[in-house]
């Protein structure tokens, strides 16, 4: 095969690989207990929300990004996004405290970083 042809095929493969849809899985568990290690707020972050059942059914949901104030919490090394209606619990977080949490059924994707987060409700089991 001609050298230029080989390069072309390689490029096509590379392009196809790059086109593969990004994973929508998010780290962490759906519910449990975790020790608060860190928490922070990021205002006006472009995020897309999608249902966790879509990823379980291996569907490819359409991601619609919009700006929101995101509240992150790191529990035992995993960073979660805190449910938007759970701000009072977020503000009451104590470093080192062990808290129960459960997923609200959504995952979130941050547009700028491509990171996915599990969305959780704090102090709920």
């Amino acid at each position: 095969m001609h050298f230029v042809m080989k390069i072309f095929i390689f490029c096509v493969f590379a392009f196809l690989m790059a086109c593969k849809p990004a994973s929508l899985e998010a780290p962490g568990s759906d519910k449990g207990f975790g020790t608060v290690q860190d928490f922070s707020i990021s205002p006006n972050v472009r995020m897309a929300l999608y249902s966790s059942s879509d990823t379980e059914a291996e569907k490819q949901p359409e991601l619609e990004f919009g700006s929101m104030d995101v509240h992150y919490v790191t529990l035992d090394g995993t960073t979660y996004m805190v449910d938007w209606s759970d701000i009072e619990d977020f503000k009451s977080l104590k470093i080192g405290a062990q808290i129960p949490f459960r997923s609200n059924g959504y995952l979130a994707r941050e547009e700028s970083t491509g990171k996915n987060y599990r969305v959780i409700m704090l102090n709920e089991s």
């Binding site: 860190d38 790191t74 503000k91 009451s92 977080l93």
Partner: protein
């Protein structure tokens, strides 16, 4: 020409350095691992590089609080609150930092505002109660402890703090209630019996007071305050019994190296009672 090269070099070098996001992530990684000392220079750096990052002020408050730099802790807590970061941790850590700096009024304000904003944070409220108590603001400390004692009626420590604060703020009836609650759970609680003795003294009921001081001594024979008060009350009607109590008190006070004034008082009472006999 050389200056241009230098500037270009600096530009290239600065472009090669870590971005503000990378620094923030590194600082947060240290913070999450409780490596607060390591996180501090990074957060401080970000105050210039990422001035709009509202998380820096609570993080700096907590990290300086955890590393014992009380002055910087309160400085950043004020910035955090000014920027609307009214998180529980900011109140909690800053109140502690004000305490460490002996800035009692500011500590009290941090507790008062924090308690209003976070009415469910028991530990924070109890800390506040203790501060108000040590600052002799018994009215406020009794309100705090009473509230939590009613929420946690089985918690002996909180009920005891409530009872003592109420007694100190001259609310004898309420104090009696909480001391009795403790004795209902733990009849051998010597301090609660002593407290009741003291309450009945306030109420001018010496016979009942004597009974509770005796009960306290039964639970804890080395309860010096109970023995002192008992000896004092016995003097009126039972001088010979009082003499024995004072003698016992004197021995124990010397053994446990009590202040000289207490020892002298016991000696003088013994002398006086012997004179009566």
């Amino acid at each position: 020409m050389n200056l241009k090269f230098c500037l270009l070099g600096l530009l290239v070098l600065s472009a090669c350095g870590p971005s503000k996001e990378e620094i923030y992530q590194e600082a947060n990684a240290h913070f999450a691992k409780t490596e607060y000392k390591e996180s501090l220079p990074l957060y401080e750096q970000l105050l210039i590089k990422d001035a709009n990052n509202i998380n820096l002020y609570p993080k700096l408050t907590i990290a300086y609080g955890m590393t014992g730099d009380w002055a910087k802790c309160v400085q950043y807590s004020e910035d955090a609150l000014q920027k609307g970061q009214d998180l529980y941790e900011v109140y909690s850590v800053s109140a502690l930092c004000y305490e460490r700096l002996n800035q009692w009024e500011k500590a009290k304000t941090a507790y008062q505002v924090g308690m209003k904003k976070y009415p469910d944070q028991q530990t924070f409220h109890i800390r506040a109660g203790l501060l108000f108590f040590t600052q002799a603001d018994y009215e406020t400390s009794s309100q705090i402890f009473k509230k939590w004692a009613d929420i946690r009626p089985q918690d002996l420590d909180i009920n005891y703090n409530a009872a003592v604060s109420l007694e100190k703020s001259n609310q004898s009836d309420a104090a009696e209630l909480y001391y009795r609650r403790i004795l209902a759970i733990k009849p051998e609680h010597a301090n609660a019996s002593f407290g009741l003795g003291s309450v009945f003294e306030q109420k001018k009921q010496p016979a009942l007071a004597i009974g509770f001081y005796e009960k306290a001594l039964k639970s804890n024979p080395e309860h010096l305050s109970a023995l002192l008060n008992l000896a004092r009350l016995q003097e009126t009607k039972q001088p010979q019994v009082a003499l024995k109590s004072w003698q016992k008190y004197l021995v124990m006070a010397k053994e446990t190296k009590q202040p000289e004034s207490f020892i002298k008082k016991a000696e003088s009472r013994i002398q006086a009672l012997k004179g009566r006999g």
